[in-house]
Amino acid sequence: MRLKDKVAIVTGAGSIRPGMGNGKATAILFAREGARVVAADIRLEAAEETAEIIKREGGEATAVQVDVTKEAGAKELVETTISRYGSLDILFNNVGGAYGGTSLKVTVEEWDATMDLNLKSVLLVCKYAVPEMIKSGGGAIVNNSSMAAYHSHGVYAYSASKAGVIALTRCLAAGLAKENIRVNCVAPGLMDTPLVAPIMTEKRIRRVEERVPLRRHGKAEETAYTVLFLASPEASYITGQTIPVDGGLSAQ
């Protein structure tokens, strides 16, 4: 077990719709590898569903309802973790999404909401999680970016916020290495997760089969294993990096 006795927070740990999302799959995998998991989500029932799956498998989890786009929420999440498990070793900043508004038609409200959800949330949770990791003697942070950070995407705010996550990852990695905290990023490509279920059309599936070298969508579990790798001691000399989980899309 790679994460035995570690304490991990996963934000966005519930699925927005039925099925397996990146956060849910990662929370479950962390628990299978021995971690005690705080499954955080803005929807309590989503967080609870993930925590229930973990407990049914014999793992340890706590569901927390929290809005990590608010400083008070981020603070409370970390405080709850410490009061429940006493320390913090691993953080997966997974929460994210897009609020409509393609191209320059985006409203200021949509832009701000997307930046808050995808980028500010990372900063806020780190702000309160890092001091606790320092107390534990170090830790590992993994942020969820997206291949949209590199490729143009109809929703500008989504691309820009996810590129911001990569830049923030590098800043945090440089700043926190002396505290023995590694900070890395995953960048999922075209995934078949509940988040994109509404746009999973026959046409999209065919396009993916033509364009992606591995000729299929990715699965949430495939993101989860990459996050696990980056969070584990096996990635002990890797920090500031972003691993695309994209079936080779960006290799072209």
């Binding site: 290495a177 096996e234 960006s250 290799a251």
Partner: protein
């Protein structure tokens, strides 16, 4: 969730440059994860020791001497592995050389030829041969040992840097073309890892200190720092990752 961990149970791996350093550490990691492992390099004696270490972990192993930039030796290597094991699931192109340390303005032709042959032509030829086996069996994973020198020019090691940059592009080219066969191709780009090949970069105290200072983590890498990433890339844990180069440099950000 369908992925069975980082397990390599039932798989066959081939590691070139397997007698020392990163290759040796990776071969042992593969064996510990359940794979049978063939190690290859130009000279046999050190290789036999590694094969013994693999067998002591309860896995099968072969040590085969081969100069992979020579097509007939690469062919012979692949034939021997498939004759013995019937398949190749993992290929790690780790054999590399850096025979000339100095400014490229003074480099002689032999340095170019030797470095490109071992670092680039060798991985190309061997990957091509192994990919034909992998295509037939329904897939596989290829890992190329590149270097951070392939991303930023390394001082005194210009030719080496050029070959490693080309190896990163070869990785992407193969990933793009071979994804349809379920063959994943990725690279690692180590920073300064304490091996014999990189001695010039760390053995002398001042050089070692300078290299250490550049890393955010404040230490040079060990071969075990590499083995974890290689195991991730070899196993189904990275099943949707191809064409990527993982930088393992302690954070030169």
């Amino acid at each position: 969730m369908g992925i069975v961990n980082f397990s390599l149970e039932g798989k066959v791996a081939l590691v070139t440059g397997g007698s020392r350093g990163i290759g040796q550490a990776s071969a042992l990691a593969f064996a510990e994860a359940g794979a049978d492992v063939v190690v290859s390099s130009r000279k046999l004696p050190d290789l036999e020791t590694v094969a013994e270490e693999i067998r002591s972990r309860g896995r099968k192993s072969l040590a085969i001497a081969a100069h992979i930039a020579k097509i007939e030796e690469s062919q012979n290597l692949v034939e021997k592995v498939t004759a013995e094991f019937g398949r190749i699931d993992i290929l790690m192109n780790n054999a590399g050389t850096n025979p000339y340390f100095g400014p490229i303005i003074d480099a002689e032709e032999w340095a170019w030829d030797v470095t490109t042959n071992v670092n680039l032509k060798g991985p190309f030829l061997l990957s091509q041969l192994v990919a034909r086996v992998m295509r037939q069996q329904g897939g596989g994973s290829i890992i190329n040992t590149a270097s951070v020198g392939g991303l930023r020019p390394g001082g005194q090691q210009g030719i080496y840097s050029v070959t490693k940059a080309a190896l990163i592009m070869l990785t992407r080219v193969m990933a793009r073309e071979w994804g349809q066969y379920n063959i994943r191709v990725n690279a690692i780009a180590p920073g300064v890892i304490k091996t014999r090949l990189s001695e010039a970069l760390w053995k002398e105290a001042a050089a070692g200190e300078a290299a250490t200072t550049r890393t955010a983590l404040g230490r040079l890498g060990e071969t075990r720092d590499i083995a974890g990433a290689v195991l991730y890339l070899a196993s189904d844990a990275s099943s949707y990752v191809t064409g990527d180069t993982i930088v393992i440099d302690g954070g030169v950000v």
